[in-house]
Symmetry: C2
Subunit: 256 residues, 2 copies
Amino acid sequence: MKVVLIGSGSVATQLGLALQAKGCTISQVYSRNISNAETLAKKLNTAFITDISEIYMEADIYFYALTDSAFKSILKKIVMPEGIQVHTAGCIPMYEFEGYTSKYGVFYPLQTFSKNKPVDFSQIPVCIEASNFEVQQRLLEIANLLTQKTFLIDSEHRKKLHLAAVFACNFTNYMYDVASVILEDSGFLFEMIQPLIAETAGKIQNMNPYEAQTGPAVRMDEITISKHLKLLDKHPEFKKIYKLMTKNINKRHRKL
Amino acid sequence: MKVVLIGSGSVATQLGLALQAKGCTISQVYSRNISNAETLAKKLNTAFITDISEIYMEADIYFYALTDSAFKSILKKIVMPEGIQVHTAGCIPMYEFEGYTSKYGVFYPLQTFSKNKPVDFSQIPVCIEASNFEVQQRLLEIANLLTQKTFLIDSEHRKKLHLAAVFACNFTNYMYDVASVILEDSGFLFEMIQPLIAETAGKIQNMNPYEAQTGPAVRMDEITISKHLKLLDKHPEFKKIYKLMTKNINKRHRKL
């Protein structure tokens, strides 16, 4: 199967590597940024372009791994090839392809990717949506190359999954980042809390997060909370987060 | 070594089990709540009391695993035994023991505990503080039974560690909880994002969280952000968190 990657970010990188490892041919990489295009093409040992008019027309499938605005701008410029067109975004409706081609869909891996960290695709849920049954079957086949966890999910539901993922992943990672700043301020290495982070994430693999909640906010330990707020005097933005989180956790656990 | 546990929450439970597994004798458990006292005493196959005046006087060490206010109230009531007195709290200064005894300290395991989930202590940093060198040596010996990661840390620094832990663990877990509510609202099982949570936590074992940040906020994807905010119309409290987090992540990544 011949694949073209449109985009050169972390999703394009990890998806490209995973598909290649399963025997797909990555025929071409496109990015408007020449250095990014070249880097990814090198990793995949393939060709790259920075001008979308030079797109390879004979691929079986084209993956658009782009931001919302870049995606729309590419669609306006591209001379549409025959192959299946899919995007990988959580929050872009499938119908954005409408009018450009009839063979299209969505291939959304529910995971966080980084350019330089390989991921094990076998545990990643892949959410599929397709313009027709034939495309759907093809996308399921491709997804099944990578993972056993394939799901048929429409755009409205996918958007909600993506929203949940922003809380569980992006905001969570920002909490790690805030912790790292507080640790650094006090001369501690980030390593100090790595076991805690691992356990916090490990817990909810077998327990629901409501039950797993611990800390001063859930036990309404006001003395500790006020000590923490005092420590945050020089980080007013962290203090705001602390107050809002504490209020919400407290409310959540009083209500039920 | 004979140990008394004052408190019957998750810290007392997991610490008791871990010490017992390393050959310590748990001589007694105290809790003002009879059912909690009994449950923990059963787990440890030992005696329990609910009246602190009946405390066993011959133990080598007494662990106070209590909230700030319960700790202070017990100190006022207890007839102080000869053995070493330590508390396990991140945010209570060691000097709270002053005037009650001369052999005291802090034994703070930097981890999140649940009553029913056993933990591997060997990876847990234990932070020690002591009223004198002899107590310090004794506490280090006990900590070394459980883990290789022992640290001498004063009360001021421990408080900052605890604050970082609240962000990295308690607030993170609340982000999981919010995600679970959003998923449930849309008919998804929480399982759907468990691989994402595992990967998010796994990433920062080798990467700093600043570099690991992904998502619409860091790439300033305003179209996605506004779609997400619209989905949160019926959860105004989640919307507030979303906005605050997004603003902070955005600012953090523009600044550097």
